[in-house]
Symmetry: D2
Subunit: 162 residues, 4 copies
């Protein structure tokens, strides 16, 4: 069983630009994280985009849905900025009924020493293997159904809606 | 739902002794890892022992079984040295039939910069939440039933027996 | 011999704000760095300000000069943003003739896993101990006299003027 | 001005062997450290040996002396295990009178997240550039003349003899 990993950007993959002091995207660090975790689950990684999720357009979300629908794997992990992760999850839920898809991200870029990214990718790969068909958001050890999760803007923490 | 975490030692918690250059145990680093992962799943941590799993005695394994049986949680993660992890898993399987227990560890001490520990604890907390009752070994993204796993001594990798 | 360390901010001490994704200042990490380096040189640390050096005003520079003049130590290390480090060095050189002062900084925040900060503070503490009276800029292993150094805006590298 | 760096091993370059849980030598990490520090001082690195300094023989020390004498650079940094660093320093002092040589090391392997190695190499490169001809031991921010330093076996700290 191979797991598909789609990269869309978000805090997860942000880096520090030494020349201007800004955060930016260069490449995904997914392969580095999987090597660090000595991952032994077969995965195929594809970078769809590298953007801040606040900049994600309806067209970007269409592309994500289409890639998830057309790939041959039926277990998918998507890295995504946290600000609009639940919105993309809703779009996936409306369109894809036969796959297990877990969206995840990070509160701190994984290039920082203190990132939660390795923890989150570890738990996402586990959830996607063991959960039944559906669309989920996995952050900080927890896994939420797509229709019962929001990011609390004050605390930055993902929580149930009801 | 609270998850019980039992600490037994293993590579996971080894540290470097500056005075004599040996690896040794001082404390568990589980709380540090959970903070790094910004874990939001309720857990209760208890250190049962801090030993190399090659030094684990039948009496130690009895203690682990007893603690798992007697704790009120029915979802349990155990950190354990990799060399005899499957042996402890067997002892648990023979004695405990009504809980989900995931044994995990690390190939590299988590105090090292390049440890797989954060990845493994992330996936173990996910597996223990989503798998049905049983005894499992979770290492490097994969999860094995207790009766179908061995550590390959040549490669250091956990694999199916059959 | 005690060395005075003055903190003014700069890339050195920037952190990532999880809630809004911006870099900001919270505290200096100097004590953490010195502990990591197991520093055994007596130091006294004082935070004068925590600002980006592009935001540094003439009044801020006056304060730095005054603090350097009035402190009892005659060996001083100053952490400083790299963009206007040489400007502050000039102000110090015009006003202080009897102390050894080394300005240093970092290209990458020290809270990032890949910062040059520990290397730079190690070399700055060494230069300040062994160089004669004067004002210096120490970055990335090199040490420049205050009147023969500039930051190359294209490459981000400090280099001689002539 | 180019600085010669000789590698001899010691805690500095030790790594963790995942298969047997022992510390061992594979390669030097000097180039990684210099890259991390964004070092801009011209250096030439040569690995003479990769051994624990307790295993260093008179013949090994002869080789170190000979390499220091014969290399064309007159500023040299040597990485060395801490246990017999002062012994090698004495051998160098007896034989080499016209070069600046700084011996350094680490209390914690640099592959560990919490190593003092980057700090020490930063300060050693600074000391070797700014000190006059002589043999020195630089550890944890301090620099000692070869004939006035010992490693305190109880504390692990380098200190003056008198």
């Amino acid at each position: 069983m191979t797991i598909r990993i789609f990269i869309t950007g978000g805090t997860f993959d942000k880096e520090y630009n030494e020349l201007n002091g800004q955060l930016y995207f260069k490449d995904t660090h997914m392969q580095d994280l999987l090597s660090l975790g000595r991952n032994r689950v077969p995965v195929v990684i594809k970078t769809l985009m590298l953007i801040d999720s606040l900049d994600m357009t309806p067209k970007d979300r269409e592309q994500i849905v289409q890639e998830c629908r057309e790939c041959e794997e039926d277990k998918i992990v998507i890295t995504h900025g946290t600000d609009t992760m639940t919105e993309t999850a809703r779009g996936l839920a409306e369109n894809i009924k036969n796959k297990t898809i877990v969206l995840t991200g990070a509160m701190i870029p994984i290039k920082f020493g203190s990132s939660d990214g390795l923890f989150n990718i570890g738990s996402s790969l586990a959830f996607v293997q063991s959960l039944q068909v559906g669309i989920y958001v996995a952050m900080n050890g927890r896994c939420f159904n797509w229709d019962n999760v929001r990011k609390n803007k004050q605390t930055g923490i993902f929580e149930e809606v009801r």
